[in-house]
């Protein structure tokens, strides 16, 4: 066997190990199944639902038709199928949730790594900045940002990312400090490695599993934040997401009309996906940090 083959064999065993540990956690598996179902539905949306029917002028049904054979989940105030809306809404909600999380974790990881590595003056300044973001009410700051930048999906992503990186930064910094005291970092310094070398070669790898676990948990809150901001009318009104569906339902008086089918599907899905991401995040966290695993 060649060297790379051996290394890949190692990686495969490790991945198989992690997967086995993951599978042993029932809640994590339930979350993963929900996520997989929603993701497949979102990706396959054009195959199962007609995008043209989202245009209010081409709405196929009448106002507030209750669930029936033609529209399984009824119609909205202009006659569009709530099922179609919900399926297309999944795309936007997942996209914004994941993108905002990636951005937020990226900012948090960089700030945390730099603050942990340059623990003295630079770290102090960065941590005070982090504290500031941590104590600011997240929603208020996000609303202010979204209003400033104008309603669009990009606005929501930026608003969520800029208001949620602080906890990741704290987490990454503490993990970095722990890694920095290891012997192999002293060795890497002694052999002439600079800051860039130390951070990229040794620290990032050791901190990465933790970053991944925290990212999975953060997707949940990002999706919730997206729904909140969209509901408050700060998203792009032309794009369908679960938050905007709820917002429209609210504006059109669906609740007082008794059109429960307009409100419940996006609402239930938001809860389901948020719960699923949280369950997955907890399961990943338990693998990364064995102390969290239940004793058996």
């Amino acid at each position: 066997m060649t060297a790379t083959a051996i290394r890949w064999a190692h990686r495969r065993t490790r991945a198989a190990d992690a997967w086995r540990q993951y599978r042993a956690q029932r809640a994590g598996m339930a979350g993963l199944i929900v996520l997989a179902a929603v993701t497949i539905l979102a990706i396959a949306a054009p195959l199962v639902a007609d995008a043209d029917s989202l245009d209010p002028t081409q709405a196929p049904g009448h106002r507030f038709e209750p669930p029936g054979a033609r529209f399984w989940l009824g119609t909205d105030d202009v006659g569009r199928s709530v099922l179609t809306l919900t399926i297309y809404g999944a795309r936007m909600s997942l996209l914004v949730g994941v993108t905002a999380t990636v951005l937020s974790v990226l900012i948090g990881a960089v700030v945390g790594l730099v603050a942990g590595h340059f623990a003295r003056a630079t770290g102090w300044v960065l941590m005070r900045l982090t504290d500031w973001f941590l104590v600011l009410p997240q929603l208020v700051l996000a609303i202010a940002l979204a209003v400033m930048l104008g309603p669009s999906a990009a606005t929501i992503i930026i608003a969520i990312a800029l208001t949620s990186w602080a906890s990741t930064a704290r987490l990454v910094r503490s993990a970095t400090l722990a890694v920095e005291s290891r012997g192999y970092l002293e060795r890497a310094r002694a052999l002439g490695g600079g800051h860039w070398h130390l951070i990229t070669r040794h620290v990032t790898g050791a901190v990465a599993p933790l970053i991944f676990a925290s990212a999975t948990l953060q997707v949940a809150s990002a999706i919730l934040a997206e729904a909140t901001l969209s509901f408050l009318g700060l998203g792009d009104p032309a794009v369908v997401s679960w938050g905007t569906i709820l917002s429209h339902a609210n504006d059109s008086g669906a609740v007082s009309y008794g059109a429960w089918w307009y409100v419940i599907p996006p609402g239930v899905l938001i809860v389901a996906v948020v719960a699923a991401f949280t369950l997955c995040g907890r399961a990943v966290e338990a693998i990364v940090n064995p102390r969290l695993r239940e004793a058996r």
Binding site: A190, L191, G192, G194, H197, H202, G205
Partner: protein, 323 residues
């Protein structure tokens, strides 16, 4: 010119409320290809000397004096120059090989690390080839390059550290308690390996240990440190066999002779503890534990003086027998 020239080195740690003098004026030099042992109890400042040589001490340590490596002063060097000097001119074999290796990376890549840091033009494949060759030099099969640290035994890991120290063809290797955590048989193997490699490649060695027998078997010269100072310095065999300083004699006696019934039950070592660097006694720091101290020992500094050809000791009664 010597390869290493340490002149009047002082290291003072800034503890919360007090300044802790760990090294108080050490002057030593090593010629190219020569070997120097530094002996002493825990806390005598020997590791601080080693780390100061590559400016690896934490920011809380204030370093005074000069350390010349090939004529260049380490203390005043720019960080970029210092990085280039580290490992390419002097490398370190660290104490705990388990901790000095990254547990999640194959060891071949870790041996290749200094090669690629110092010559970024080296391809990954070339560096790995050289890493395998280095593994063979330290008596490990080349396929071990793909192993992870936890798959190796303690002795093998220490061999990996030696291979890593050789990676950039340094002129000096600093071994800081490099074999302390190993059992005696493995210790002997690693010491043989180090002696063999440095002799063949003409590398100078500074070996730091609390174990005189290790230093006696590997080093030409020996410096004994006590409370941050060198108290005796000279050719190893003479210093070990006939220490001029009472502390050296105590240290030499602390190791029993295996199989010698006469050494059994004989008073060993040095009674008492080394003084805290925060509360050093006046005069000779060894005075409270010294069996032959006289009143004069309590006053002023006891300088390191020549006691014989090539030998120095810091004792007013140098060479006198301990009762």
């Amino acid at each position: 010119m010597s390869l290493v020239d340490i002149r009047d080195l002082t290291v003072t740690y800034d503890a919360r409320r007090a300044a802790v003098p760990a090294v108080r004026g050490v002057t030593l030099s090593v010629q190219a290809g020569a070997s120097l042992g530094i002996a002493g109890e825990s806390g005598c400042g020997k590791s601080s000397v080693a780390l100061a040589m590559l400016r690896l001490l934490p920011a809380t340590a204030a370093v005074g004096g000069h350390i010349l490596l090939d004529g260049d002063d380490i203390a005043t060097m720019s960080f970029g120059k210092l990085r280039a000097v580290r490992w390419s001119r002097a490398s370190i074999v660290f104490q705990g090989a388990m901790h000095a290796l990254n547990p999640v990376r194959a060891i071949g890549g870790q041996i290749a690390e200094p090669i690629r840091v110092h010559d970024p033009a080296t391809t990954r494949a070339d560096a790995l080839t050289r890493a395998r060759e280095l593994l063979r030099q330290v008596g490990l099969p080349a396929w071990r390059a793909d192993s992870y640290p936890h798959e190796l035994s303690g002795g093998q890991r220490q061999r990996v550290m030696v291979a890593m120290a050789l990676a950039c063809r340094p002129r000096l290797i600093i071994a800081d308690e490099a074999t302390t955590a190993l059992d005696v048989m493995i210790q002997a193997q690693v010491l043989d390996l180090v002696s063999d490699v440095i002799a063949r490649q003409g590398i100078a060695l500074i070996m730091i240990s609390h174990d005189l027998s290790i230093l006696a078997s590997t080093c030409d010269e020996l410096a004994v440190m006590y409370a941050g100072r060198v108290v005796e310095h000279g050719p190893t065999a003479k210093v070990v066999a006939h220490g001029a300083h009472p502390y050296t004699r105590g240290l030499a006696r602390a190791f029993p002779t295996v199989g010698d019934p006469a050494s059994r039950g004989r008073p060993r070592g040095v009674p008492g503890d080394a003084p805290s660097p925060l509360r050093l006694p006046d005069g000779c720091a060894f005075r409270p534990r010294c069996p032959i101290a006289i009143d004069d020992c309590a006053h002023g500094d006891i300088p390191l003086q020549a006691v014989a050809e090539g030998r120095r000791a810091a004792c007013l009664r140098a060479g006198e027998e301990t009762p």
